[in-house]
C-alpha cells in the first residue's frame, strides 16, 4: 500500500531525486557515533511538546482569573488530562536536559567547525529558545511558585544596563507581574516561540541532511596520519532511522513513567498580594545563573553587582554563539584544547552551581 502511495506521488511529483538521496545517504560509523542520537531525541521531545501543548490549548484559559482553575480542570476533570499535563511538564524538562547534553556533545566533538558554523548557530539559538519556552511556560499555570519565580526572573532582566527597564516592561507588560504578563507569556509560548522554533528546526535539519554527520576531529586526524582507514557507513534509511526511533521509544517510556509516578504538582493559586513564600527559586535549568547572581556582591567597583552579572552572562551567550568563528584551530582540523577545557569548566560550573543552588536557602 505504501509503495502504491509512493508510486502515485512519484508519477505526479517525480521523486527520483529524493529517492536517490534516501538510498545513498549514509552515516559514518565510529566510536563517538552514539552522541548523534541526542539531537534526534531532543527533536522527538519537541514533537511531544507540540502534540501535548495543542491538547492542553483546548482547555487552557490564559487569564489570571481562570488560568489556575483551567489547569486544575484539566488534571481533575478532563479524561487523561492529568497524563497530558504531566507528560508536557516532564517532557519539557527532559527536552531541556537533552538539549544541553546535545549542546555539550557537539561542543566537545567540535562538530561546530567549518563547514558547520550555520548548524551550530541554528542549534545554539534553538537552545536559547528552549529556555525561553521553559521560562514562559512556567508561569502559565499561574501558581504561587511560578508567579514569584517569574517576578524574580523578569526582575533580573531589569538589571540589563541601559535597556533593562524597557526589557522588564516588555516582558511583564507593565511594571509588575500581572494578568497582562500571563497573556504576554501565553502568546510567546504558543505562537511566537513555536513559529521561530519551527523555522530554526527546519533550517537545522536541512543543514544536517545537506552536510551529513560530522566526524570527530581526532578520527579525521588519525585518518590523515594513515592510522585509520576510511570509515564504514551505515545507511541512513532504514538502519540509522530505526535506531533513532528505538531511542525515541526509550525516551517516551521514561517520560510516561515519570508522569505516572511523579506527577507534576499544581501548587496553590498565585496571590499577588501574598507575602513571598520562602524558598522561591526558578526551574532547575536557571538555578546556576540564579545562584551566581545571588552570590555576586551588591556593588563591585562602583557598579551594581547584579548588573555586572547579567552583562557577564550576556557576554558568555554571545561568545557561545560565536564559538565556530573563534575556534580557528578546530576549523583548521588542529587540536583546540583551550575550547575543550572551557567547555569542561562550563559543564562543571553548571552542574555544581545547579546542585548548590538547589540546596541553598
Amino acid at each position: 500500500m505504501v509503495k502504491g502511495v509512493v508510486d502515485w506521488l512519484d508519477e505526479r511529483l517525480d521523486l527520483s531525486d529524493l529517492k536517490h538521496f534516501i538510498a545513498e545517504k549514509g552515516v559514518p560509523i565510529h566510536t563517538q557515533e552514539v552522541w548523534y542520537y541526542l539531537g534526534g531525541m531532543t527533536m522527538f521531545l519537541f514533537g511531544v511538546q507540540v502534540f501535548t501543548g495543542i491538547l492542553l490549548l483546548l482547555y487552557y484559559r490564559p487569564s489570571s482569573a481562570e488560568a489556575y482553575e483551567s489547569v486544575q480542570f484539566i488534571v481533575t476533570q478532563v479524561k487523561f488530562g492529568w497524563l497530558i499535563r504531566n507528560v508536557h511538564s516532564w517532557s519539557a524538562n527532559l527536552l531541556i536536559a537533552l538539549a544541553f547534553a546535545h549542546f555539550f556533545s557537539v561542543f566537545f566533538l567540535k562538530s561546530y567547525r567549518k563547514p558547520r558554523e550555520l548548524t551550530w548557530l541554528t542549534g545554539i539559538l534553538l537552545l536559547f529558545l528552549m529556555l525561553g519556552f521553559g521560562f514562559s511556560g512556567y508561569l502559565l499555570p499561574w501558581n504561587e511558585l511560578s508567579f514569584f519565580a517569574t517576578k524574580v526572573g523578569t526582575g533580573s532582566a531589569g538589571a540589563v544596563p541601559v535597556v533593562g527597564h524597557f526589557m522588564l516592561r516588555l516582558l511583564r507588560s507593565g511594571d509588575d507581574v500581572t494578568g497582562a504578563t500571563l497573556s504576554r507569556f501565553y502568546g510567546l509560548h504558543v505562537a511566537i516561540l513555536p513559529a521561530i522554533t519551527t523555522a530554526l528546526v527546519a533550517g537545522h535539519l536541512l543543514l544536517v541532511q545537506r552536510q551529513g554527520m560530522s566526524v570527530p576531529p581526532g578520527i579525521e586526524r588519525a585518518q590523515k596520519a594513515g592510522k585509520l582507514g576510511p570509515l564504514a557507513q551505515m545507511k541512513f534509511f532504514p538502519n540509522y532511522i530505526l535506531r533513532d526511533v528505538l531511542a525515541w521509544y526509550v525516551v517516551l517510556a521514561i517520560v510516561a513513567a515519570l508522569a505516572a509516578f511523579y506527577p507534576w504538582e499544581l501548587g496553590t493559586k498565585a496571590d499577588p498580594f501574598a507575602v513571598v513564600p520562602p524558598g522561591i527559586r526558578p526551574e532547575w535549568y536557571f538555578l546556576a545563573v540564579f545562584y551566581t547572581l545571588k552570590l555576586i556582591p551588591s556593588h563591585i567597583m562602583g557598579f551594581e553587582g547584579e548588573q555586572l552579572g547579567v552583562v557577564a552572562f550576556g557576554i558568555v551567550a554571545i561568545v557561545l554563539v560565536l564559538v565556530p568563528f573563534l575556534d580557528r584551530r578546530a576549523s583548521r582540523g588542529e587540536r583546540s584544547p583551550v575550547f575543550t577545557v572551557l567547555a569542561a569548566l562550563g559543564l562543571v560550573y553548571l552542574i555544581v552551581f545547579t546542585i548548590i543552588g538547589h540546596y541553598a536557602k
Binding site: 486544575q72 488534571v75 481533575t76 492529568w82 497524563l83 504531566n86 551505515m234 545507511k235 532504514p238 538502519n239 530505526l242 535506531r243 526511533v245 528505538l246 521509544y249 526509550v250 517516551l252 517510556a253 510516561a256 513513567a257 505516572a260 509516578f261 506527577p263 507534576w264 504538582e265 499544581l266
Partner: protein
C-alpha cells in the same frame, strides 16, 4: 494656622504657665536649668532622671519640662532659687502626691484633648477603686503608683514596644513586685493567707503567654486584660466567667446556661485554672485518668460521668476520622490526584469538631451529638472521594505498566529488526 502663630504658640503657652491666675498645667518652653545641672551631677540617683528625660520621653517630646511635675524655677541658675518652695518646688512626688501630680493633666479632659483626644481621663478615679489605690489610702506607701508601672522619667507611649506597659512587657512589670516574696510579704488575702507570688511563673506556662510572646498576638491577654490596669483588682467570685467571656464569648454563654454555672464557685477557673491556663484538650473531658470532670464525677451511675464519657468518645471518634481521611487524601494528593475540594470539606469537619467542643461547655450531650453527626457525614464523603482517588491511582499505574510493556516490546522488536537489517547490509 499661620507660620507666625505656630512660632508664637509655645511662648503664649509659657506665659500662661507662669501667670499667677492660671493653675492649669501647660508645656513649659522656657530655659530649663534643671537638666543643665542634673545631667552633670555625679550622684546617679539625681543624674539618671535628667538623662532619661532627655532621651525618649513622651512628655518632653510634647513640650513639657521638669518643672511641670516637680515645680520650682527652671530659669534660675542657682540651686536655692531653682528649688524654692515659694516657686512651687515639691521635689519628687511620691504616693498620693504622685497620683495627684499625674492626674493634674491626665484627669483634665480639656488638656488631654489637645495631646491625646482618644485617651481616657479617669485613670486616677479608677486607681482609687483598685487594690493598689485602696492600700495607698490605707497608708501602705509600698504599693504601685503611676511611676511604678510607667516609669518616672523616660516615659514612653503604651504603643511603644519598649514601654514597660506594652502588652508583651506588662506581665514582667507586674511581676517586679508580685513575684517578689519580700515585697509582697506584708499583704494577705481576705482569708488571711499570704498573697501568692507564683502568678508570673504560672502565667508563663499558659496558652495566653505563648500566644502573646511566641505567636506575636498582641490581643492575647496579659495581667491587665483580666485584672484591669488602673483599677487593678482580682475578679470577684462569679465574675470570672464574665472576664473570660470578654474574649471567649460563646464559651461563656454556653457555660452560663449550664448546670455548672450554679455550682462552680470560680467559674472557668475550676477546670482551666487562672494564671496557668493550659492548652485545652479532649483529655480534660471524661471520668477517668487526668480528666478534670473526674474530680467530681465517677462511676457508671453518675449522670455527669456518663455525659462526660459520651462527649469524650464522640470527640475522639470524629478527630480520628478527620485524621484518617486527611492521611488518605494526603496520599492521593501526593500521587497527583486533585483533592482541594476534599481538603476544604475536611476543614469544615474540623470546624464542626471545634463547634462541638464549644457546645460541650453547656454540658448537654444531646446538643453535641447532632454537630458530631454532621462532622462524621463530611468525613464519610471525604473518605469515599479518597477511595475513588486511590482507585484512579491504581488504574493509572496499571495503565502505565501496560503501556511500558507495549513500548518495551516495540523496543525489542525494533532492536531485532535493526540487527537483522545490519546483518543484511554486511552480507
Amino acid at each position: 494656622m499661620s507660620q507666625i502663630a505656630r512660632r508664637c504658640l509655645p511662648l503664649i503657652a509659657a506665659m500662661a504657665l507662669f501667670a499667677p491666675s492660671q493653675a492649669t498645667a501647660q508645656p513649659a518652653q522656657a530655659a530649663n536649668t534643671c537638666l543643665t545641672c542634673h545631667s552633670t551631677l555625679a550622684d546617679t540617683r539625681l543624674a539618671t532622671p535628667a538623662k532619661l528625660f532627655s532621651g525618649t520621653d513622651v512628655h518632653r517630646e510634647r513640650g513639657f519640662a521638669c518643672a511641670d511635675c516637680h515645680g520650682g524655677d527652671p530659669a534660675a541658675a542657682e540651686k536655692a532659687r531653682a528649688h524654692d518652695a515659694a516657686k512651687g518646688y515639691k521635689g519628687a512626688p511620691r504616693g498620693q502626691a504622685q497620683i495627684t501630680a499625674c492626674a493634674r493633666c491626665h484627669s483634665d479632659a480639656d488638656l488631654m484633648r489637645r495631646y491625646a483626644p482618644k485617651q481616657r481621663v479617669d485613670q486616677a478615679t479608677e486607681y482609687a477603686t483598685s487594690v493598689h489605690g485602696k492600700q495607698l489610702a490605707a497608708g501602705h506607701t509600698n504599693v504601685a503608683t503611676c511611676a511604678s508601672c510607667h516609669g518616672p522619667h523616660g516615659i514612653r507611649l503604651v504603643s511603644d514596644a519598649k514601654s514597660p506597659v506594652f502588652p508583651t512587657n506588662v506581665a514582667a512589670t507586674c511581676a517586679a513586685c508580685h513575684a517578689d516574696p519580700r515585697h509582697m510579704a506584708e499583704y494577705k488575702l481576705a482569708d488571711g493567707t499570704p498573697l501568692p507570688t507564683t502568678q508570673f511563673a504560672d502565667y508563663k506556662k499558659s496558652v495566653h503567654y505563648a500566644a502573646l510572646t511566641k505567636g506575636n498576638d498582641l490581643s492575647a491577654p496579659t495581667c491587665n486584660d483580666c485584672h484591669g490596669n488602673h483599677g487593678a483588682t482580682p475578679p470577684g467570685v462569679g465574675a470570672v466567667s464574665n472576664v473570660c467571656g470578654t474574649c471567649h464569648a460563646v464559651f461563656a454563654t454556653k457555660f452560663q446556661s449550664s448546670v455548672h454555672a450554679q455550682i462552680f464557685d470560680k467559674g472557668c477557673v475550676e477546670c482551666h485554672s487562672n494564671h496557668a491556663v493550659l492548652k485545652p484538650s479532649d483529655a480534660m473531658l471524661g471520668s477517668t485518668g487526668h480528666a478534670v470532670c473526674a474530680t467530681c464525677h465517677s462511676g457508671a451511675d453518675d449522670k455527669g460521668a456518663v455525659a462526660a464519657d459520651t462527649m469524650h468518645g464522640q470527640f475522639e471518634q470524629l478527630e480520628a476520622g478527620i485524621r484518617r481521611s486527611g492521611a488518605l487524601i494526603g496520599r492521593v494528593k501526593n500521587a497527583g490526584i486533585e483533592v482541594s475540594d476534599q481538603e476544604l470539606a475536611l476543614r469544615e469537619a474540623s470546624t464542626k469538631l471545634t463547634l462541638a467542643r464549644t457546645e460541650m461547655h453547656g454540658f448537654v450531650p444531646a446538643s453535641v451529638t447532632p454537630i458530631i453527626a454532621d462532622g462524621a457525614k463530611i468525613v464519610e464523603s471525604v473518605d469515599a472521594a479518597g477511595e475513588k482517588g486511590a482507585a484512579e491511582l491504581r488504574f493509572r499505574r496499571r495503565g502505565l505498566a501496560i503501556s511500558l510493556g507495549a513500548i518495551l516490546l516495540l523496543v525489542v522488536a525494533l532492536g531485532l529488526k535493526v540487527r537483522q537489517i545490519d546483518r543484511r547490509s554486511h552480507s
